[in-house]
């Protein structure tokens, strides 16, 4: 005969009340685990999707001159005519710390060509990464194959060219594979060709005018990455488009904070369920507590019985709540995945946290009922029968 035997026997006898407490805790823990797991999974997904916002680090040749332009209006200082970055040097980016966070590296070769009595800025790019660096592009037609050209919306309008037309550039004819829908950016005025084609056209083999990088630092500061890139390319200017990164992180932060508040509210309600049920249970057991006190149980023994009961239920609730929470999160992710595979990794930290949270909540909510039970006057308790 031990106090734990008394606790377990009482739980088995009062199955309805035990189930109610268990349900309160399980719902609280499962919701919290579900929300946190879902938030973590969605955060990763959001980070992945945010990368599609395009480039957020820009590498340009180092220059001592100041840009003469404002609000998109260029007044001189044509920087693309300055010294270039050596393309082979870009291989160094693969070895910098946090290189794994680089989603795409897009070298750009810029050059001015005279076509159809107009001067046009041509950009040689790597179309293989354009869907990451320029995810907002909408092409009417096709992406260009080598030897073909993709026109910006304004360039096509000014040159009066459409998909399928031919563009004479420096003595050769380039097939217009497509026209970009208006982006509202500088891209509208450009003609895009393959990087190698631009290098050949402007005699810039092995050189690039600038490099766009899409990187997202979930676990590292973007400023540090910029520093590492500068170390790798000491002759280049490296700039972080800080606002983009900041916005991304703020979005995630808001999302997480909201989820934590929801979890806290549900846990609070779960705690109240435990508190109210345990209070009722203690009142119902007045005579029993009287007997325990009469036969010599100390107050702490009574408290221990109550805490053991809530501790046992809390442990079960923690385990069940973790499993159920994972199931909730998985179901929610599957529902939103649109057929894409959804994965929830098992996390020992989350499992241990769920059990700890359940026990802490259960014991905290039982503290007052346990205190009341222990304070019960044995004489009054026995007379209550």
């Amino acid at each position: 005969m031990t106090l734990s035997l008394i606790s377990t026997r009482n739980l088995l006898r009062r199955k309805g009340k035990a189930a109610f407490i268990l349900a309160g805790l399980v719902i609280g823990v499962a919701t919290t685990v579900g929300i946190l797991t879902y938030v973590n999974a969605v955060s990763s997904d959001i980070l992945h999707k945010l990368e599609q916002f395009g480039a957020n680090i820009l590498i340009t040749p180092q220059t001592e001159s100041l840009a003469l332009g404002y609000g998109g209006l260029a007044l001189g200082g044509v920087s693309f005519e300055l010294e270039e970055i050596r393309q082979p040097d870009l291989a160094r980016l693969e070895h910098i710390p946090y290189a794994g966070n680089i989603a795409a590296v897009g070298p750009v070769v810029l050059g001015v060509a005279s076509v159809l009595d107009q001067r046009i800025l041509m950009a040689g790019i790597d179309f293989g990464v354009s869907h990451i660096l320029k995810p907002w592009w909408q092409v009417q037609g096709n992406m260009p194959a080598p030897g073909e050209v993709l026109l910006g919306a304004d360039a096509a309008r000014v040159l009066n060219l459409n998909t399928g037309d031919m563009l004479p550039v420096k003595g050769s004819l380039m097939h217009v594979s497509g026209v970009l829908a208006s982006t509202g950016s500088q891209d509208d005025a450009l003609a895009f060709v393959h990087l190698e084609d631009a290098q050949a056209l402007f005699n810039k083999q092995g050189l690039v005018s600038m490099v766009e990088i899409a990187a997202l630092c979930k676990d590292c500061p973007i400023v540090e990455m910029v520093g590492y890139i500068k170390e790798a390319l000491p002759d280049a200017n490296v700039m972080a488009i800080a606002q983009v990164v900041k916005t991304r992180m703020e979005m995630l932060g808001h999302f997480k904070r909201f989820a934590y508040w929801i979890s806290a509210v549900i846990l609070f309600i779960g705690g109240l369920v435990v508190l109210v049920t345990m209070m009722g249970s203690v009142r119902e057991r007045t005579s029993e507590i009287g007997i325990f006190r009469a036969v010599g149980f100390r107050r702490r023994h009574i408290m221990k019985i109550v805490f053991l009961e809530s501790g046992i239920l809390s442990l079960l609730a923690g385990l069940a709540g973790y499993g159920l929470g994972l199931a909730f999160a998985f179901t929610a992710l599957v529902a939103e995945a649109d057929g894409r595979p959804a994965q929830i990794p098992f996390s020992w930290e989350m499992a241990a946290g769920a059990v700890f949270l359940a026990i802490a909540l259960g014991l905290a909510a039982s503290a007052y009922p346990a205190f009341l039970a222990a304070r019960m006057d044995p004489n009054e308790a026995l007379r209550a029968l």
């Binding site: 007997i291 006190r293 149980f297």
Partner: protein
Amino acid sequence: MSYIVANNLNKSFGFGQTAVKAVSNISFEIASGEFVSIMGESGSGKSTLLGILGAMNAPTSGRLVVDGIDIYSLNTEQQADFRREYLGFVFQGFHLVPYLTVLENVMLPLAVKPLGKKQKQQMAFHALSQVGLAEKASRLPGEISGGEKERTAMARAIVNEPPILLADEPSGNLDSKNSAELMALFEKFNALGMTIIMVTHSLECAGYAKRRLIISDGRLKSDYFPASNAA
């Protein structure tokens, strides 16, 4: 030498003009090994007095000394220890824990004692065999008769081998046959040296005691040794 000394015990409930005096200036001494019955009408204060003797109901004033220990100078936890070591209780309503077996009910006072499981079981079986209930050890209280419940309560009261047994209307829910069997057990344990104090309405039960205290309106009206026992 007196084992239990009650000195000018008073107990009031409520305050001011609405105060009710349940026990008024009661003093007596009980030697070790005595079998004392406390009698009185309903509401006379005898159960309140038993609560005071049981270290569960502090008197408004007065002193209770048991085995040289001033009970109400102890704190509540020490009083609980005192009850565990010195007292066994038998209540009118059995007061068994319904979800524990007969054996586990008997083991209840041992639950907080630093004894091994086997030793606790042996002590409980010994107590049950003393009241003739060893074969019902695994039953739940709901599965045994009223007389058996009372004997279970008796086994629980003596499992610790306490020097004092307190009983509050122990035969109140029993028929005459079970009542006589219970009283025989009281006599048996008294013969083994246990001090017994029993509150009862029944003259027949009181006849088993060697000394009788009569309480009326909270006061001790008489304290005497009956000429002969009813048994």
